[in-house]
Symmetry: C2
Subunit: 328 residues, 2 copies
Amino acid sequence: MADKNQIIDLANRIYNLDEKVYEATGSNLGRIYHGDKNKCINDLVELISSEANSSILRSELALISNMARTIKNNPVLHKKIMKEYGSIFDEAMAIQESIEGGDIINPEIAELNMSNLENRFGKDDNLIICIGRSYGCAGTDIGFKLADKLRISYYDVSIVNEILQRNEEHEETDRALFQTKVKRTPAQWWRDFKKYHGLSRADVEFFNTSRKLVELAKQESFVIMGRYAENILTRNHIPHISIFITAPRKLRIQRTYQISKEKLTYKQAAKYVMKEDRAHLRRYAFYTGKKWGEADNYDMTINSASYGIDGSVDLIMRIVAKNRAHEG
Amino acid sequence: MADKNQIIDLANRIYNLDEKVYEATGSNLGRIYHGDKNKCINDLVELISSEANSSILRSELALISNMARTIKNNPVLHKKIMKEYGSIFDEAMAIQESIEGGDIINPEIAELNMSNLENRFGKDDNLIICIGRSYGCAGTDIGFKLADKLRISYYDVSIVNEILQRNEEHEETDRALFQTKVKRTPAQWWRDFKKYHGLSRADVEFFNTSRKLVELAKQESFVIMGRYAENILTRNHIPHISIFITAPRKLRIQRTYQISKEKLTYKQAAKYVMKEDRAHLRRYAFYTGKKWGEADNYDMTINSASYGIDGSVDLIMRIVAKNRAHEG
């Protein structure tokens, strides 16, 4: 906690800065602090020491600095004033933080968020990017191009299932399980039922995928599409970045319609996209207990309509690139 | 559209690459294409030319390249294979794009999204960052620090209102209107009613804010908090970046409780955060017709619990910084 003298000194410096800025700009917006100087400084001292009104002090500081930035005709004075402002700003923030406390960061989440970890991960650690996406937003294209640009592996549902099928530790039954279109005889069904304790195919797929994902994450860097990967990795304490990609529904329907090349009518495309959205919501809630696509379940959410496919790839590269240099 | 020969050639190259990768790795996952070579290539030709199954081709290519990346003991071969893969990848993508068509980008939105505009904006254009945020996520702190780091102005509700109040073109009545706590006499109320065609105070504030924002956007770069700014600027065709910041509700409640220093009980903090969320939703829907906080209304959404205050500032700086260098 700052002592009284420090606060009084700061109040004086803020008052003087305001005066200097006013003189330099002669702005029609006038000064922040006018009237009796002593009263102004007393008010400021109270404001700085107050637990409740930190946002008022910040607004006042912001007003002074906004104004100071308009000083264009005297670069030397401008620089001097901005320097004094910067020093006041830092001190005020430090005092307020000592009063207020409290960043929003969740250490547990942040620990798993790779783009937040400056020096924590060595060169040998794997970069894992989990991408969720809504139907028709080109999320798959973005994920695929991203993996290619980063020169890391790309996994989606068909690749993960392919790997699970090929995996020698998997038995015949598993293989059949993953060919979701294959009908099982009653005998096969009963065998599967006993083997998987009555779990549904979807559940078995979920558990197998979870196990495989955790295994892969220890071996290599990759982009993984869907598969509740961010949830699985978080539960297994494996660092990753989670991104959700979406776009306004109207555009997603349009794109679905275009890509279908008149195999779907516009109305059918709309129906399909909405059905997919509902199914995603339902499945995600079932396996994670969370709301699919809701911003606070991911590190970041991107509107692909704002950036396009290449723009989105580029954006994610910028987010990821800072801490990491990847080799092919 | 690619001609038949080009597609056959590409199919052969993909088949050969798969073979080469298999020989180099001897992976237990085996080859993608096995059995009769001619049949494989015919299947591939069909896959490449098919409108419907582009995702299958991509999955197969991804499997080959994932595997190729595991070649570690022969860097020369690895490099050669990855080069061939890159060339195949580009050609396959070009063919598929000519068949499929359709990026997701919305030219209208993208035109207004500054971080997507590589060379379009000159040095003199203003950088405008609109930040929406949920209560308790530290969004205000992030916006404020961001403006300071970028050395651009910071506007929030109190500053915008302050400016509107100070503006000399505003008359007495406007000033009174913005002191929302001030009670008006029936005579004042009637005068305001006539002047503003019966609009509510909130509506007058909205229209005045809109006008002021558009004016400011022509003059300078800034960070603007809330105020439906992304919506106002989009409607006025003014380039900007729109970001929504949020965090899991539980953390926002915790932070609100902590900051209140026991002036609120945890239960009261929870109630307050939920009340604020509801009010935000309601107001945003009223003035914009859109759903507050929904990912597709913004260019990007950030979970501040993943990054913390400084991490979020840093992240936004990375997104913005590429195209722009700002002076104080």
